[in-house]
């Protein structure tokens, strides 16, 4: 990973900086840091490879599955109506568990509880396709995650994880994404880490990937042990990032370098 090579320099910069929240007026989506070519790819549905997953998700939405032999569409009918705005308030508090679940976990709850099918694996084509299709229905809508009072302690947990230094490089997310978002790391824009476009197509991955995949990549970058897919820590980080981006527009499926 080219990123690691340049991290040492950043450690020096971050060592002196103090984590401070980004003022509302300076918040910027990761899209605004990209080259015009990559932005054009994101903006046009027939050039955006993420739309391939959206199309597959649409087909899966109508496909019957599990012992219940039911399709998503059998209960939720037209996703363009029933799923509009849904992704904009995830992760959301799940009463049955007393904790938040993200969109992928929510979809898998419907797989297991309502379709009586086996849950889909993290980063599997099917789960990414369904998540992309559901989230696509919120494109352009403002993020509303985090207004549920029951979820407040988990947002705080996510915030602590975001601030906490960890790994062999002893860096916190905030050292890069709050304090140095206007700088570059090995040629990559650091950005403010707003999760507006997930799941998104990363040219480096040559695939669609979830927000959890992105977070695990950043954690590996600071040479810490990444939390497991679906772990409470990753969900708390997703939750904090989404509530930190409240009011910003959903861009799924976005494209990133």
């Amino acid at each position: 990973m080219k990123i690691i090579g340049c991290i040492a320099i950043l450690t020096a910069i971050a060592g002196t900086a103090l984590a401070a929240d980004i003022p509302q007026s300076e918040r910027r989506s990761g899209t605004s840091f990209m080259s015009p070519d990559t932005r054009a790819m994101q903006d046009e549905d027939t050039a955006n490879p993420g739309m391939l997953w959206v199309l597959d998700g649409e087909a899966l939405w109508r496909r019957k599955a599990g012992v219940a032999d039911k399709a998503c569409a059998d209960c939720h009918t037209d996703a363009r109506v029933s799923m509009k705005g849904v992704a904009a308030h995830y992760p959301a508090f799940e009463k049955a568990f007393g904790k938040p679940v993200d969109l992928e976990q929510r979809i898998n709850l419907c797989r297991t509880n309502h379709q009586q099918a086996t849950p889909l694996a993290y980063e599997s084509h099917e789960l990414l396709a369904l998540a992309a299709y559901v989230a696509r229905q919120s494109r352009g809508m403002p993020i509303e995650t985090g207004d549920d009072p029951e979820i407040a302690p988990f947002v705080e947990q996510g915030r602590e994880l975001f601030m906490q230094r960890q790994g062999q490089l002893n860096l916190g997310c905030a050292n890069c994404h709050d304090d140095n978002w206007d700088k570059k790391l090995a040629g990559s824009a650091i950005t403010q880490a707003h999760p507006t476009g997930y799941p998104l197509y990363r040219l480096e991955w040559q695939s669609l990937g979830s927000l959890q995949r992105r977070l695990r990549a950043c954690i590996t970058g600071i040479r810490a042990q990444p939390y497991d897919y679906g772990s409470p820590e990753l969900v708390a980080l997703e939750l904090y990032l989404m509530s930190r981006a409240r009011g910003m527009a959903i861009e799924t499926p976005a494209v990133r370098p």
């Binding site: 027939t46 050039a47 955006n48 490879p49 739309m51 391939l52 597959d56």
Partner: protein, 106 residues
Amino acid sequence: MPSALINVPARAKRGDVIEIKTLMSHIMETGYRHIASGEVVPRDIITSFTCRYNGTEIFRADLYPAIAANPFITFFTTVTESGKFEFEWIGDRGFSETASASILVE
């Protein structure tokens, strides 16, 4: 489940030069990667792409292992008459997909 995204203008004037954009889902596995145990991941790529305009071939491309996943191919053509563009992707392991788009020329 392979799918394609096609962008052809729905209508154009005779003699106009139009841009055609195509995106095909494909992993484009190079054949040069190894798994942890050392075995080579077999090559699995699209090897050829063709576009026909009312039956006549107007564009063809050969694809190679260095091309990224989900190849995005765009090209230009001059429109002469209403009709159909037919696209065909052929590749390793019997990969064969088609798509089409109509255009109204006035």
